[in-house]
């Protein structure tokens, strides 16, 4: 997904899907469903709900493939953001956000488990490489920067909520998000 050749392949698939090619959709599903499902699981903490969210996102990709704008984001990023948005909708609708947030803070923020670089056997080596690269890039971030962007991305917390939870000034949190995200970008390039 970070690999340019992978992204090029994703774009070709999206173009074919936009033309109604179900085989292309099947191929893209095989490429993206793993990370998208893991993200939904991470955010929702429930397998059935994560599957529902992935099903909705998959149908959205099929229906909106023609509107995908390569100038705005990668195919992978587009799909991830849709998945995140679906998961957030579910969290908000079911009033479970507090519980998930509380649960995540209990496990000590900033210590999210990236220790295992070895993936499930079902992952391809490319996906494994990508995961390793992202994890090592995240590990280079100072704890407070990594914590801030993770809370925002995975826990659907606004910068104001992060500032309140950590009892820190809003400006500090904003700056951490900016620095952390830019540093992550640099680390992935």
């Amino acid at each position: 997904m970070i690999d340019p050749s992978q992204e090029a392949a994703n774009r070709q698939l999206i173009q074919r899907i936009a033309a109604g090619d179900q085989q292309a959709f099947s191929a893209l599903y095989d490429r993206l469903s793993g990370p998208l499902f893991s993200l939904a699981m991470q955010m929702l903490g429930d397998e059935a709900e994560a599957e529902d969210a992935l099903q909705e996102v998959s149908l959205q990709i099929w229906r909106r493939a023609a509107t995908y704008d390569a100038e705005r984001s990668k195919v992978f990023s587009w799909a991830v953001m849709m998945t995140r948005s679906k998961a957030i909708d579910r969290l908000r609708a079911r009033g479970r956000r507090q519980r998930i947030v509380a649960g995540s803070t209990d496990e000590e923020e900033g210590t999210r488990d990236y220790a295992s670089d070895a993936e499930n056997a079902s992952d391809t080596s490319v996906r494994n490489d990508d995961a390793v690269r992202v994890r090592s890039a995240l590990r280079t971030l100072p704890n407070e920067q990594r914590q801030a962007i993770e809370m925002a991305f995975f826990n659907d917390m606004t910068h104001a909520e992060i500032a309140e939870q950590n009892s820190e000034p809003l400006g500090t949190v904003k700056a951490r998000i900016r620095r952390g995200l830019m540093r992550l970008r640099d680390g992935l390039q």
Binding site: M1, I2, G20, Q22, F25, S26, Y29, S33, G34, P35, L36, F37, S38, L39, M41, Q42, E47, A50, E51, Q55, L59, W62, R63, E71, R72, S73, F76, S77, V80, M81, T83, R84, S85, D113, Y114, S116, E119, N120, S122, D123, R127, D130, A131, V134, R135, I149, E150, A152, F153, F154, T158, H159, K174, I177, R178, L181, M182, L184, R185, L188
Partner: protein, 298 residues
Amino acid sequence: MMTEAQQEQAALYALDLMSAQEAAAFEHELSAHAELQALVRELRDAAAAMALAVPRSVLPSEGLKSRVMDQIAEEAARNEPVNIIRPPRSVFSVVVPWAIAAAFILFCGVLALDRAKLADQLAAEQSAKEDHLAQERSTSEQRLAQERAMFETRLAQERKTFDQRLALENAKMEKRLADERAARAASLPMLIALAPAEGAPAKAQAVVAFDPSTQTGTIKISNLPAAAAGKDYQLWAVDAAHKDPISAGVVRVDANGVAQVQFKPTEAAREVKAFAISLERQGGVPKKEGPILLVGTV
């Protein structure tokens, strides 16, 4: 060139942390700033890449993919034009459809007749139902009107009774208030200046201090020449509850025309209106006889 504030906004936007209003304002800025657009894209890709860092211990079920594929196949089928393959036509294939069509028309005719009959039946039932409903509504309205009239009559009566009782209570209350006010005023200590009456020594004056609660008082007189032989000055309390002034005793002045005497009226003076000094026979009289020399009203 990009400012830190713009970078910060780009980061917040990439993570969907902006409110709808903030996002709209930023998108406006973004539309004219190619460098900023590129940064947003890079930051969004970096944020999305975090999904790859999530450990993948569980995979979606195989059944999910089948369900999704079935759904998109169904959607695709709905959107695609239907290709109809027609078999070669024969005489038989021409006649039979016409016969079926004729039979179908006949059948439709029978159905139409039946439908008309049913429609009439339904209309009659509907009409009867409506009449019944109208009658029930009329009865209900009449009953409602009667109950309403009864209620209004009772309400008017109760209101009248209440108004009368209220007026009575008000009158009682006002009287009690007036009585209390008068009693309070009457019970307060009073200070009255007495001035000369017509024909009295012009410089003579007196001041009375009287406490109704104890029925005692003090009078101080000045510039009043001593009474002629066989005569005395007598103090009177003019009270609303008594027909005649109440005697408060004889007052004798010294050679300088001065006197300061404590007094107590012979009867209770609860509603004092004035004090007066008259010239009476020596030793005083029970009922005023002589001329008034000094007088002062409350």
